[in-house]
């Protein structure tokens, strides 16, 4: 029995070390962003918000932030608008070629992002269209659609068909049924899908580097450009802002969906 316990504590220690390993670099970014020194590195010499102030005066970065937010929001809305009906079709209906089409719609996850980037850019070039915000948007919708689909499908499986059938048999039309029955039950998944889509779009860099132009730079693309002249405290500060922003997303979502669920329960 003694050996068993030591085995389990080894597992615990190992897991703890994996956590440390995973988070130390991220914590270092946040800590170093407060280092007033010219070079973003250890040792820490004091504590200041200097780089954040500098960041807030950098108009190209603010521009990139605005681009990222607009792009992420549009992507989230479009991807859910496309993904939710598709999930309904896959879960609520039987039709030929269902398996194949489901795999096809989820396929973008398995296509290397670099190929996705090249492919769409090549296509746009062949159509003789310039790189534009629209290219970024449609590209990001393709990138995020599979995730929205998977999340909404997983939730939809758990919602009993009978609820919808009951509404229909009581005289509601299909649209009313969706609005009054399916949508409220599905809302947490839709919200989760939207947030996931937003975050993927907000963070994406691999494919976005192919599609972005100087006018349409997103924050990660901007960071990539800044990295050319080595890591600076300003990058750390920008990184810290990004971390706080994207990490607060799922936490906010969890809180909202719990509140939402409670609200639903009352009515």
């Amino acid at each position: 029995m003694k050996k068993l316990i030591s085995g389990w504590s080894l597992i615990k220690i190992f897991t703890f070390l994996v956590y440390v390993w995973m988070f130390i670099p991220i914590i270092a970014v946040v800590i170093l962003s407060f280092n007033p020194q010219q070079f973003g590195s250890f040792p820490m010499e004091g504590f200041s918000f200097k780089w954040y102030v500098k960041l807030s005066h950098n108009s190209t970065i603010l521009e990139a932030f605005k681009n990222s937010l607009v792009l992420g929001s549009c992507t989230a809305v479009l991807a859910t608008a496309f993904g939710v009906p598709a999930a309904m079709a896959f879960i609520r209906y039987e039709f030929r070629g269902k398996e194949f089409l489901n795999t096809l719609l989820i396929a973008p996850i398995m296509v290397p992002e670099v190929v996705l980037g090249v492919a769409l850019l090549l296509f746009i070039r062949w159509l003789q269209q310039p790189k534009s915000f629209a290219l970024l948007l449609i590209g990001h919708v393709v990138l995020t659609l599979p995730y929205v689909l998977l999340i909404v499908q997983a939730r939809l499986v758990g919602i009993k068909k009978e609820y919808e059938e009951a509404a229909l048999s009581l005289g509601a039309n299909p649209f009313q049924t969706f609005r009054e029955i399916t949508f409220p039950l599905l809302a947490p998944a839709i919200l989760a899908g939207m947030l996931f889509a937003f975050t993927i779009s907000f963070d994406d860099v691999t494919a976005t580097l192919f599609w972005a132009t100087a006018q349409n730079q997103t924050v990660p693309v901007k960071i990539f450009g800044m990295l050319r002249n080595s890591i600076s405290p300003e990058i750390n500060a920008l990184g810290a802002v990004m971390i706080v922003l994207t990490v607060s997303m799922p936490l906010l979502a969890g809180y909202l969906s719990r509140r939402f669920a409670r609200g639903n329960h009352k009515t």
Binding site: P85, V115, A119, P220
Partner: protein, 289 residues
Amino acid sequence: MKNKFWKPWILLSPSLTAVFFLLVIPICFVIVYSFWLRAPNGQDIPAFQFGNYAKFFADFFYPSILLTTLRVALETVILCLVLGYIPAYFFYKTESRFKPFLMILVMLPFWISFIIRTLSWINILGDSGLINHLLLKFNIISSPLAMLYNEGAVIMGLLQYLLPFMILNIYVSLDGIDKSLAEAAKSLGCTEWQAFKEVTLPLSLPGVSAGCLLVFVLTCGTYLPPMILGGPGNEMIANLIFKRIIGTLDWPFGSAISTILMLLLMVIVYTYNRYMGINQIFKTLSNES
């Protein structure tokens, strides 16, 4: 319900249209373009010839990058597996009330920008990074160790990016295993280790293999960690594509390399699907939120 056969198609049409025009057709274009010629003045000439592929395999330069990619991907998969299985097993077994919190922590990196996570290793491994700073401070070394810009640093970045995928895949598989099976094995005289080896481990293999495939495919398609953390010798196939398309605007050759990468991954995914079934991956991904 018979007259409703068209309904799912209406619901599906927006996504199908999007994926068809924005994924299927563009990828066909990549394949078609890979047979085109590039004129000396930089113009692309429609043609059907294998010159781009011949160029790729003409000498050892390009295939060696392909081999590097496969080697790095394999090393990443193995390290991810070792680093990922134990925490996943911990989540499966633990009865701690902090489990939900710990699970959220594992998923947190999914929400943190990939480029930030990659460049954050510079703060740790760089000449004036955390490790060198501590080693110098305690007089263990007299000059900074060169830990950046080599394959090890690239793999660090890749692991940071991919480990959560592996942990979740294995955990979802473990979570589906009835704990009483291992108990039964133990009551029949197995030791803890034997019960794990004979019962739990084999039952968790679908998650393990799904995680391995996902990590492998994602490693092959990324160019950021080699670009930021690697040196000149650590280029991977995706870096090559990026350079050809964005750098030299050599569309036909870039398309040919992309096609080679896709073919390679298709063979791997196809083989995998034949033996394991691809659905496991989708099952896990839908749990990520």
